[in-house]
Symmetry: C2
Subunit: 287 residues, 2 copies
C-alpha cells in the first residue's frame, strides 16, 4: 500500500450536507485506516445554504473548482445529491485546469450531471457510487467504507459485479440521465453497459423515463441495460400493472437494446461502484 | 355557418375517461349548438381499462386510427391525459392514412407526445387545448365550450391571445416536452413561440425541466418562451427560493432564449387554444 496519505475534498454541488456527516465520516475513516487515515476535507460550501441549494450557483461551482484544480487533492467526493448539479456544470467545466484531470470523482443521483460532463470531457477516473451523506442511511457505514475503499485503494471488492466482465460501464439515476438527453451534457455511451436506478418515483414515471431513455438514438448504441434498484416507489391512484423490471424489459424489447438483468446499485447502502468507461487499472494508489 | 354537422371522435390514448363525461359533454354541445349540434362519438376504448391505461397499447392505438383514418370524422379529440400517449405514438404514426391529414386534433398534457408527432409529420390542424374530461373541472363547461368553438367554428375567441400576433406557436406541458427531447418525436420549433405549462410538480423539478428544455440546441431556435400556469405545485422539504416565473426568466436568460411573458394556458378551465405552427385560416368549417 502507498505511504502517501490520500487527500479527499468533499463538495456539495446540489443540496446542503447535514452537519453531522463531517464528524461521522472522518471517524469511520480513522477506524478503517488507522495507519494511513485518508484526510477528508469538507469544503465550507458543504454547509452553505441558498434556498434549495448548498449555496448559490457560483459558490458551489467555485468550491468544486477549488478542490478539483488543487494539486494537493487526490479526489473530489460529492457530499450528497438532492438537486442543483445541472446548474453549475457549465461554470465548472469551463474553468477546470490540469490538476483536475488525474483525480477520482465519485457520486451518484443528481451529481450524475457532473459525472456525465466530466466523462464526456475525457476524465478517466469518474465513478458512480456512494457519497459522504450516505453514512446517515441504514447501514450507511458500509456505503461510506465502500466509497473510501474505491477512492483510497481502488479496491475491486467495491465494484459492481459486472464491472470488468464487460468492456465499458456507466451508471445513472434515470431521471438525471433523462434530463441531460439531447443537451451538450449527454455522454457517448456507445458500447457501454448502462446501469439505471431510481428512487422516489411512481411506476408510470419510471415507464416514461425508460421510454425517453430508450428512444434516444445515441442511447440505443449501448451494449445493454441493467436495472438497479428502484426504491421508495410512490403510489399512484391506479396500479400500473407492471413492476419496474417488467417495465425495463418492455422498453429494452421495444427499442432493441439488450436486457442484461439487474445491477447492484441504488439509493441505498448497498450501492456498488460503477466506473465510467473501461475498468481502470488496479490499484491506482500504488503507482 | 356551415350546414354540415361537425363529427368529432373522442379517443383516450393515455388514461381512462370518467364515464359521466360521455353524458355531460354531448348535453353541453346540444345546449351550445341547438341547430347544428356537433355529433360527438366517444369511442368505446375511452372506457376500457388496462392497469394505468384506457386499454392496452394496441387497443388505444387502434381506436385512434379508427377515428383518424375514417373519412366521416372532422376531428380527433382527446378524452383526457394521464399517462400513456408516448407508448402508442409509433404504432399510430406508422398506420395513418390520407383522411387523417385534414382533421383537427386537440389535446394537451400527456397527449402532447401525439400532437408533437403529428405536427412533426406535417399535419396542419394540430392544437393544444382543452379535452373532453376537462368538463369535470371547476367551471369546466367553459373549457369544453372553448374546445368545441375551436373544433366546430375555428372561433378566434378560443385562441390564446398571442396566437396570430406571432409567426408560429406551439404549446406543451413541460414534462411531456422534456420526455420527448432527443427522441424521434421532438418537433422542429424553429421560430415558434413556445408556451409551457405544468401541473403537480415541485419547483425544483420545474427548474430541472427548464434546464433540460432550454439546454437543447434545437429548442434554442425558438423565437421565445412564454410561461403558462404552473398549478398544484407540490411542496418540498426546503423552499426553492424562486417562483416559477423567476425560474423561467432565469433559464431564458442563461440560454439566450427570449422571455416573452405569461401565456394563458394551463391545467385548468381557462386553458386557451394554441395551434401548432402558423395560425390556420379562419374559419375552416365554412370552406
Amino acid at each position: 500500500m502507498s505511504k502517501k496519505r490520500c487527500r479527499i475534498g468533499v463538495v456539495a454541488p446540489a443540496s446542503r450536507m447535514f452537519a453531522e456527516v463531517a464528524q461521522r465520516v472522518p471517524a469511520l475513516a480513522t477506524s478503517l485506516y488507522p495507519d494511513r487515515t485518508p484526510e477528508i476535507v469538507f469544503h465550507p460550501q458543504c454547509f452553505a445554504s441558498h434556498g434549495h441549494f448548498a449555496g448559490e450557483d457560483e459558490t458551489r461551482a467555485q468550491a468544486f473548482l477549488e478542490v478539483a484544480n488543487d494539486e494537493s487533492y487526490d479526489s473530489v467526493w460529492f457530499a450528497r445529491g438532492g438537486y442543483g448539479s445541472c446548474r453549475v456544470v457549465e461554470a465548472v467545466m469551463g474553468r477546470l485546469t490540469k490538476p483536475s484531470r488525474r483525480k477520482t470523482y465519485l457520486g451518484y443521483s443528481d451529481t450524475g450531471a457532473l459525472l456525465a460532463a466530466l466523462y464526456r470531457d475525457g476524465f478517466e477516473a469518474v465513478a458512480h457510487g456512494p457519497m459522504a451523506q450516505d453514512i446517515l442511511r441504514d447501514s450507511g457505514d458500509a456505503a461510506v467504507a465502500r466509497a473510501l475503499a474505491w477512492i483510497v485503494d481502488r479496491s475491486p471488492e467495491a465494484l459492481e459485479r459486472s464491472v470488468g466482465r464487460v468492456q465499458k460501464t456507466a451508471a445513472f439515476n434515470m431521471t438525471v440521465l433523462s434530463q441531460i438527453l439531447g443537451t451538450p451534457l449527454q455522454p457517448d455511451l456507445d458500447g457501454h453497459v448502462l446501469m439505471l436506478e431510481e428512487a422516489g418515483e411512481a411506476l408510470y414515471r419510471i415507464d416514461r423515463l425508460l421510454f425517453h431513455i430508450t428512444s434516444n438514438a445515441e442511447i440505443r448504441r449501448v451494449s445493454g441495460i441493467m436495472l438497479g434498484r428502484c426504491s421508495a416507489i410512490t403510489p399512484h391512484e391506479r396500479d400500473f400493472g407492471m413492476n419496474e423490471e417488467e417495465i425495463a424489459r418492455y422498453w429494452c424489447q421495444r427499442s432493441g437494446i439488450a436486457w442484461l438483468g439487474r445491477a447492484d446499485i441504488g439509493h441505498d447502502a448497498g450501492n456498488k461502484i460503477v466506473p465510467f468507461g473501461a475498468r481502470p487499472e488496479l490499484p491506482a494508489m500504488n503507482t
